[in-house]
Subunit: 194 residues, 2 copies
Amino acid sequence: MLTTGEAAKYCGVNFRTVIRWIERGRLKAYKLPGRGDHRIQTQDFVAFLRDNNMPVPPELVGTNNRVLVIEDQPEMAAAIRRTLKRAGYDVEVAKDGFIAGTMLMRHNPALVTLDLKMPGMDGYQVLNFIREQEDHSQVKVLVVSAETREGLARAKTSGADDILPKPFDNSELLAKVSQLIGDGQPVSAQDQLV
Amino acid sequence: MLTTGEAAKYCGVNFRTVIRWIERGRLKAYKLPGRGDHRIQTQDFVAFLRDNNMPVPPELVGTNNRVLVIEDQPEMAAAIRRTLKRAGYDVEVAKDGFIAGTMLMRHNPALVTLDLKMPGMDGYQVLNFIREQEDHSQVKVLVVSAETREGLARAKTSGADDILPKPFDNSELLAKVSQLIGDGQPVSAQDQLV
DNA sequence: TGATATAATGTCATGATTGACAGGTTAGAT
DNA sequence: ATCTAACCTGTCAATCATGACATTATATCA
């Protein structure tokens, strides 16, 4: 939730200009009853920035170091979790599709590792679904799978940001994750601003 | 029921501001005897948000008539959907666990019909999971299944509000649903208007 | 090219609301 | 019964909205 002044700083313009954008309907916002202050929801502001090819401040893009691991094999899940935790990421594990779905919505992770082969879940469909979701179209998806080369290629066309064939080294995993969302250690505690 | 602090977070303002709104009669609330804490009824708060064209958080939309149908068999899903739609409910269908999870979080339904036997999803686990979730512990769960009597009993202990053995009549379905969350037709459509 | 019109943005002053802080109290949890 | 987190009140500084006007950028036309 942002005020006009904060939004103005992010854009490098005068707050008067932000108000005018709002008045013209370019930027979505609502008014408070008292003085008529504007409040801009962070997601609307980010959408606005993206629409106009403006740089998006990292602290507005959710919490950068949160990873959701969608994986039903306990050992594999534990291994990924351990590796990422050690590197400083905030890791959640979902061992079935339902829980994965709720966690995606609830925790709004920066990255999801997705096992394509989970019982009762079509990984490709999940990929498509995530990409269709307004709110989560920005989340990075790293497909982790023992699929064939064709399957992995198909995953890429379905919206995966990167793929990691099983088996893999921890270093490979970390390299891919950090390439997609940066290092696990938060740059500063201010990233947690609400 | 909300405190000033909670309302403040929803609006993106300081709690002091919320108190001022209350003092000026813009927002309805009442005081507790002790410290003079304010308590705001959810419906009053939602009405306030609507009056001022402010976004209404989905989890506050109290008595809605939204139903989420978790069912992987297309014919069965269509049948339930049709029946409930006709009765005036707002129906969403999820055909796998992942989508079901996201929809539960996104649409905040008043009731979920849950097929216990879905591939890759342990219905009992889902039940437990829903009950553990802070935000959604209020949602009613109607288990719809061809399970054995023991299985259905177990579902009840896992947190199901009611069970409906397959096969069933439409009238049975409607009876159970309306018993759990009331009739499908909103009491008055104007309640939802701006 | 150069001149003019139009739109967008920045600046300033005023008035009102909101946020921050400090000190005291209690609701809710254990 | 105790403890912590959250709440209330009052005050004052910071912030925001508004309107008027200056300045800059863009478009249009001769």
